[in-house]
Amino acid sequence: MGLQPYLLLAACLFAIGLFGVLTRRNAIGILLGIELMLNAVNVNLVAFARYAADPAGLIFALFTISITVAEVALGLAIVILIFRVRRTVEADRLDLLKG
């Protein structure tokens, strides 16, 4: 089985994630979308690493995962703050700042 299928899978994941990010009104939903996009990155990295037989890719993947975790954690924290002060997590209700 060649490299392309993995890349395609990753591309699909990325696309789905992006779609989710753009369509979900709920901040949590958007976070999930981002999660998907970052996982597509991991799939890519692992696939490349496997086919190039080069460990760097795997290390890269590990870093990506950890960073993803950090970002999502921060994201959830911000969402909680938002909910505390605004009583909503609907992304498109948050438009005090514009213009």
Partner: protein, 469 residues
């Protein structure tokens, strides 16, 4: 002293601040600010003592001329930013001072590493290390709904962009078969489709960090909501780091194949200049106006980048310096006025010339610099960037830039008008806390100094840039 000296020093400084945060009781925590200010100042001075070390091809972390130049610039900018932050009055900044400065320094650490990184993984990690604290800082006043909203927007756009960046990096890695930028540059000799996709995705990712149109949309909101001294710093430091990273990835060692990026970067430059300047016109909120004008300036720097030549790169670096002083100065003066008037609306500046002539003069100088008028730094910056672009044959961009400069002058004069022409709402002088005053003074001196005698800086930047090609 090893190549990592500055980073190590900064880490120890962070440790100190952290300790303060643990041991000091609530009001005593303010000294965290002092400590970090002094520490950063020390580091800045140290950075000027360092000598650049020519990079070996395989290095993942280098301290070549470009890196050192960037670090010096970042440290100076951060020092100014911290000085400005010391004047913040909101109790949160007193009680949670260590937190604030710790995050600031962490982000700075990310930048310092980023400008030295010549390895994809390190680049990505440093990038995130720089970004994540910024999200927190922009929402630092967690009781204020606007601040948190701004933080969320900043965060969402930022993470999506970094996802795109990472995705792109994964392709680059896959196509180049290595994570060393030297290898990437080599691979660019015969770029395959994967590599190109990767590179363009990466460019999109960086586009967010330097806030090029249309990745800029988080900028105005974040700038408006976050605390002004932080914004002053945010508006320059990450962008400087971002540009340096772009140089590393796209120009360093790529040699004559760089022509590949010209059309797309030129396009980004054009729309960024245009959009930034035009959207700044109707603004009545000083911070938003400066935010959009900042976007426009990114456009001008992209013009220099589009020249993809040594002189172009050098002139972008020069522009960054002028931009750091001019922009930070303007933001900090807005902060000074806001602390007295409690408003960042243009009307808050009314009659400034009568109430605080020196402050008004400093603001005027910053604005003239941003507008590109002789005697001040911005004039040379624009001149050199256009010069480089003209040498690269991008006459269209130069013409567009020149016309948009007139547009820009319009809104800078609209900013100067209330200060000098309109009568003051309230009389009486405007108190400015010493650190803030010092910061403003530094910026003004920088603007004037570079404006009056740009030669050494020009030569330095040229030296730095030539090493890349």
């Amino acid at each position: 002293m090893s190549a990592l000296g500055l980073e190590l020093g900064l880490s120890t400084l962070m440790l100190g601040v952290f300790v303060v945060g643990v041991v000091a009781r609530d009001d005593a925590r303010r000294i965290a600010g002092m400590i970090s200010a002094i520490g950063v100042l020390a580091l800045a001075v140290g950075s000027f003592l360092l000598e650049p070390a020519p990079a070996a091809p395989g290095d993942a972390f280098v301290l070549d001329g470009l890196a050192l130049f960037a670090k010096q610039l970042l440290l100076v900018a951060t020092f100014i930013g911290i000085l400005g932050s010391l004047s913040l009055t909101d109790p949160a900044f007193r009680r949670r001072a260590p937190e604030y400065y710790l995050l600031l320094l962490a982000s700075l650490l990310g930048m310092l590493v980023l400008v030295s990184a010549r390895e994809l993984i390190l680049l990505f990690v440093a990038f995130e290390l720089m970004s994540i604290p910024l999200y927190v800082l922009s929402g630092f006043l967690k009781r204020e709904s606007v601040a948190v909203e701004a933080a969320l927007k900043f965060f969402l756009v930022g993470t999506v962009s970094s996802a795109i960046l990472a995705y792109g990096l994964s392709f680059v890695y896959g196509a180049a078969g290595t994570t060393a930028l030297a290898g990437v540059a080599r691979a660019l000799g015969a770029p395959g489709p994967l590599l190109l996709v990767g590179m363009f995705l990466v460019l999109a990712g960086f586009g967010f960090k330097i806030a090029a149109f249309p990745f800029h949309m988080w900028v105005p909101d974040t700038y408006e909501a976050a605390s002004t001294p932080f914004v002053a710093w945010l508006s320059v430091a990450p962008k400087a780091a971002g540009f340096v990273a772009i140089f590393r990835v796209y120009l360093e060692g790529v040699g004559d194949r760089v022509a590949l990026w010209i059309p797309i970067v030129a396009g980004l430059a054009a729309i960024t200049m245009t959009a930034g300047n035009l959207m700044a016109l109707p603004q009545r909120n000083s911070k938003r106006l400066l935010a959009y004008s900042g976007i426009a300036h990114i456009g001008y720097m992209l013009v220099g980048l589009a020249a993809v030549s040594a002189s172009g790169t050098a002139m972008v670096l020069f522009y960054l310096v002028a931009y750091v002083f001019g922009n930070m100065g303007a933001f900090l003066i807005v902060e000074a006025v806001a602390q007295a008037e409690g408003s960042v609306h243009l009307d808050a500046l009314r009659g400034l010339a009568e109430r605080a002539p020196l402050l008004a003069l400093a603001m005027l100088l910053s604005l003239l610099s941003l507008g590109g008028i002789p005697f001040v730094a911005g004039f040379w910056a624009k001149l050199y960037v256009f010069w480089a672009a003209a040498q690269a044959g991008l006459y269209g961009l130069v013409l567009l830039g020149a016309i948009l400069t007139v547009v820009a002058l319009f809104y800078y004069l609209m900013l100067a008008r209330p200060m000098y022409i309109d009568a003051p709402r309230r009389s009486g002088p405007i108190p400015v806390s010493p650190p803030l005053a010092l910061a403003i003074l530094i910026c003004t001196l920088g603007v004037v100094g570079v404006g009056v005698y740009p030669k050494p800086l020009v030569e330095l930047t040229l030296r730095v840039a030539n090493a890349l090609f």
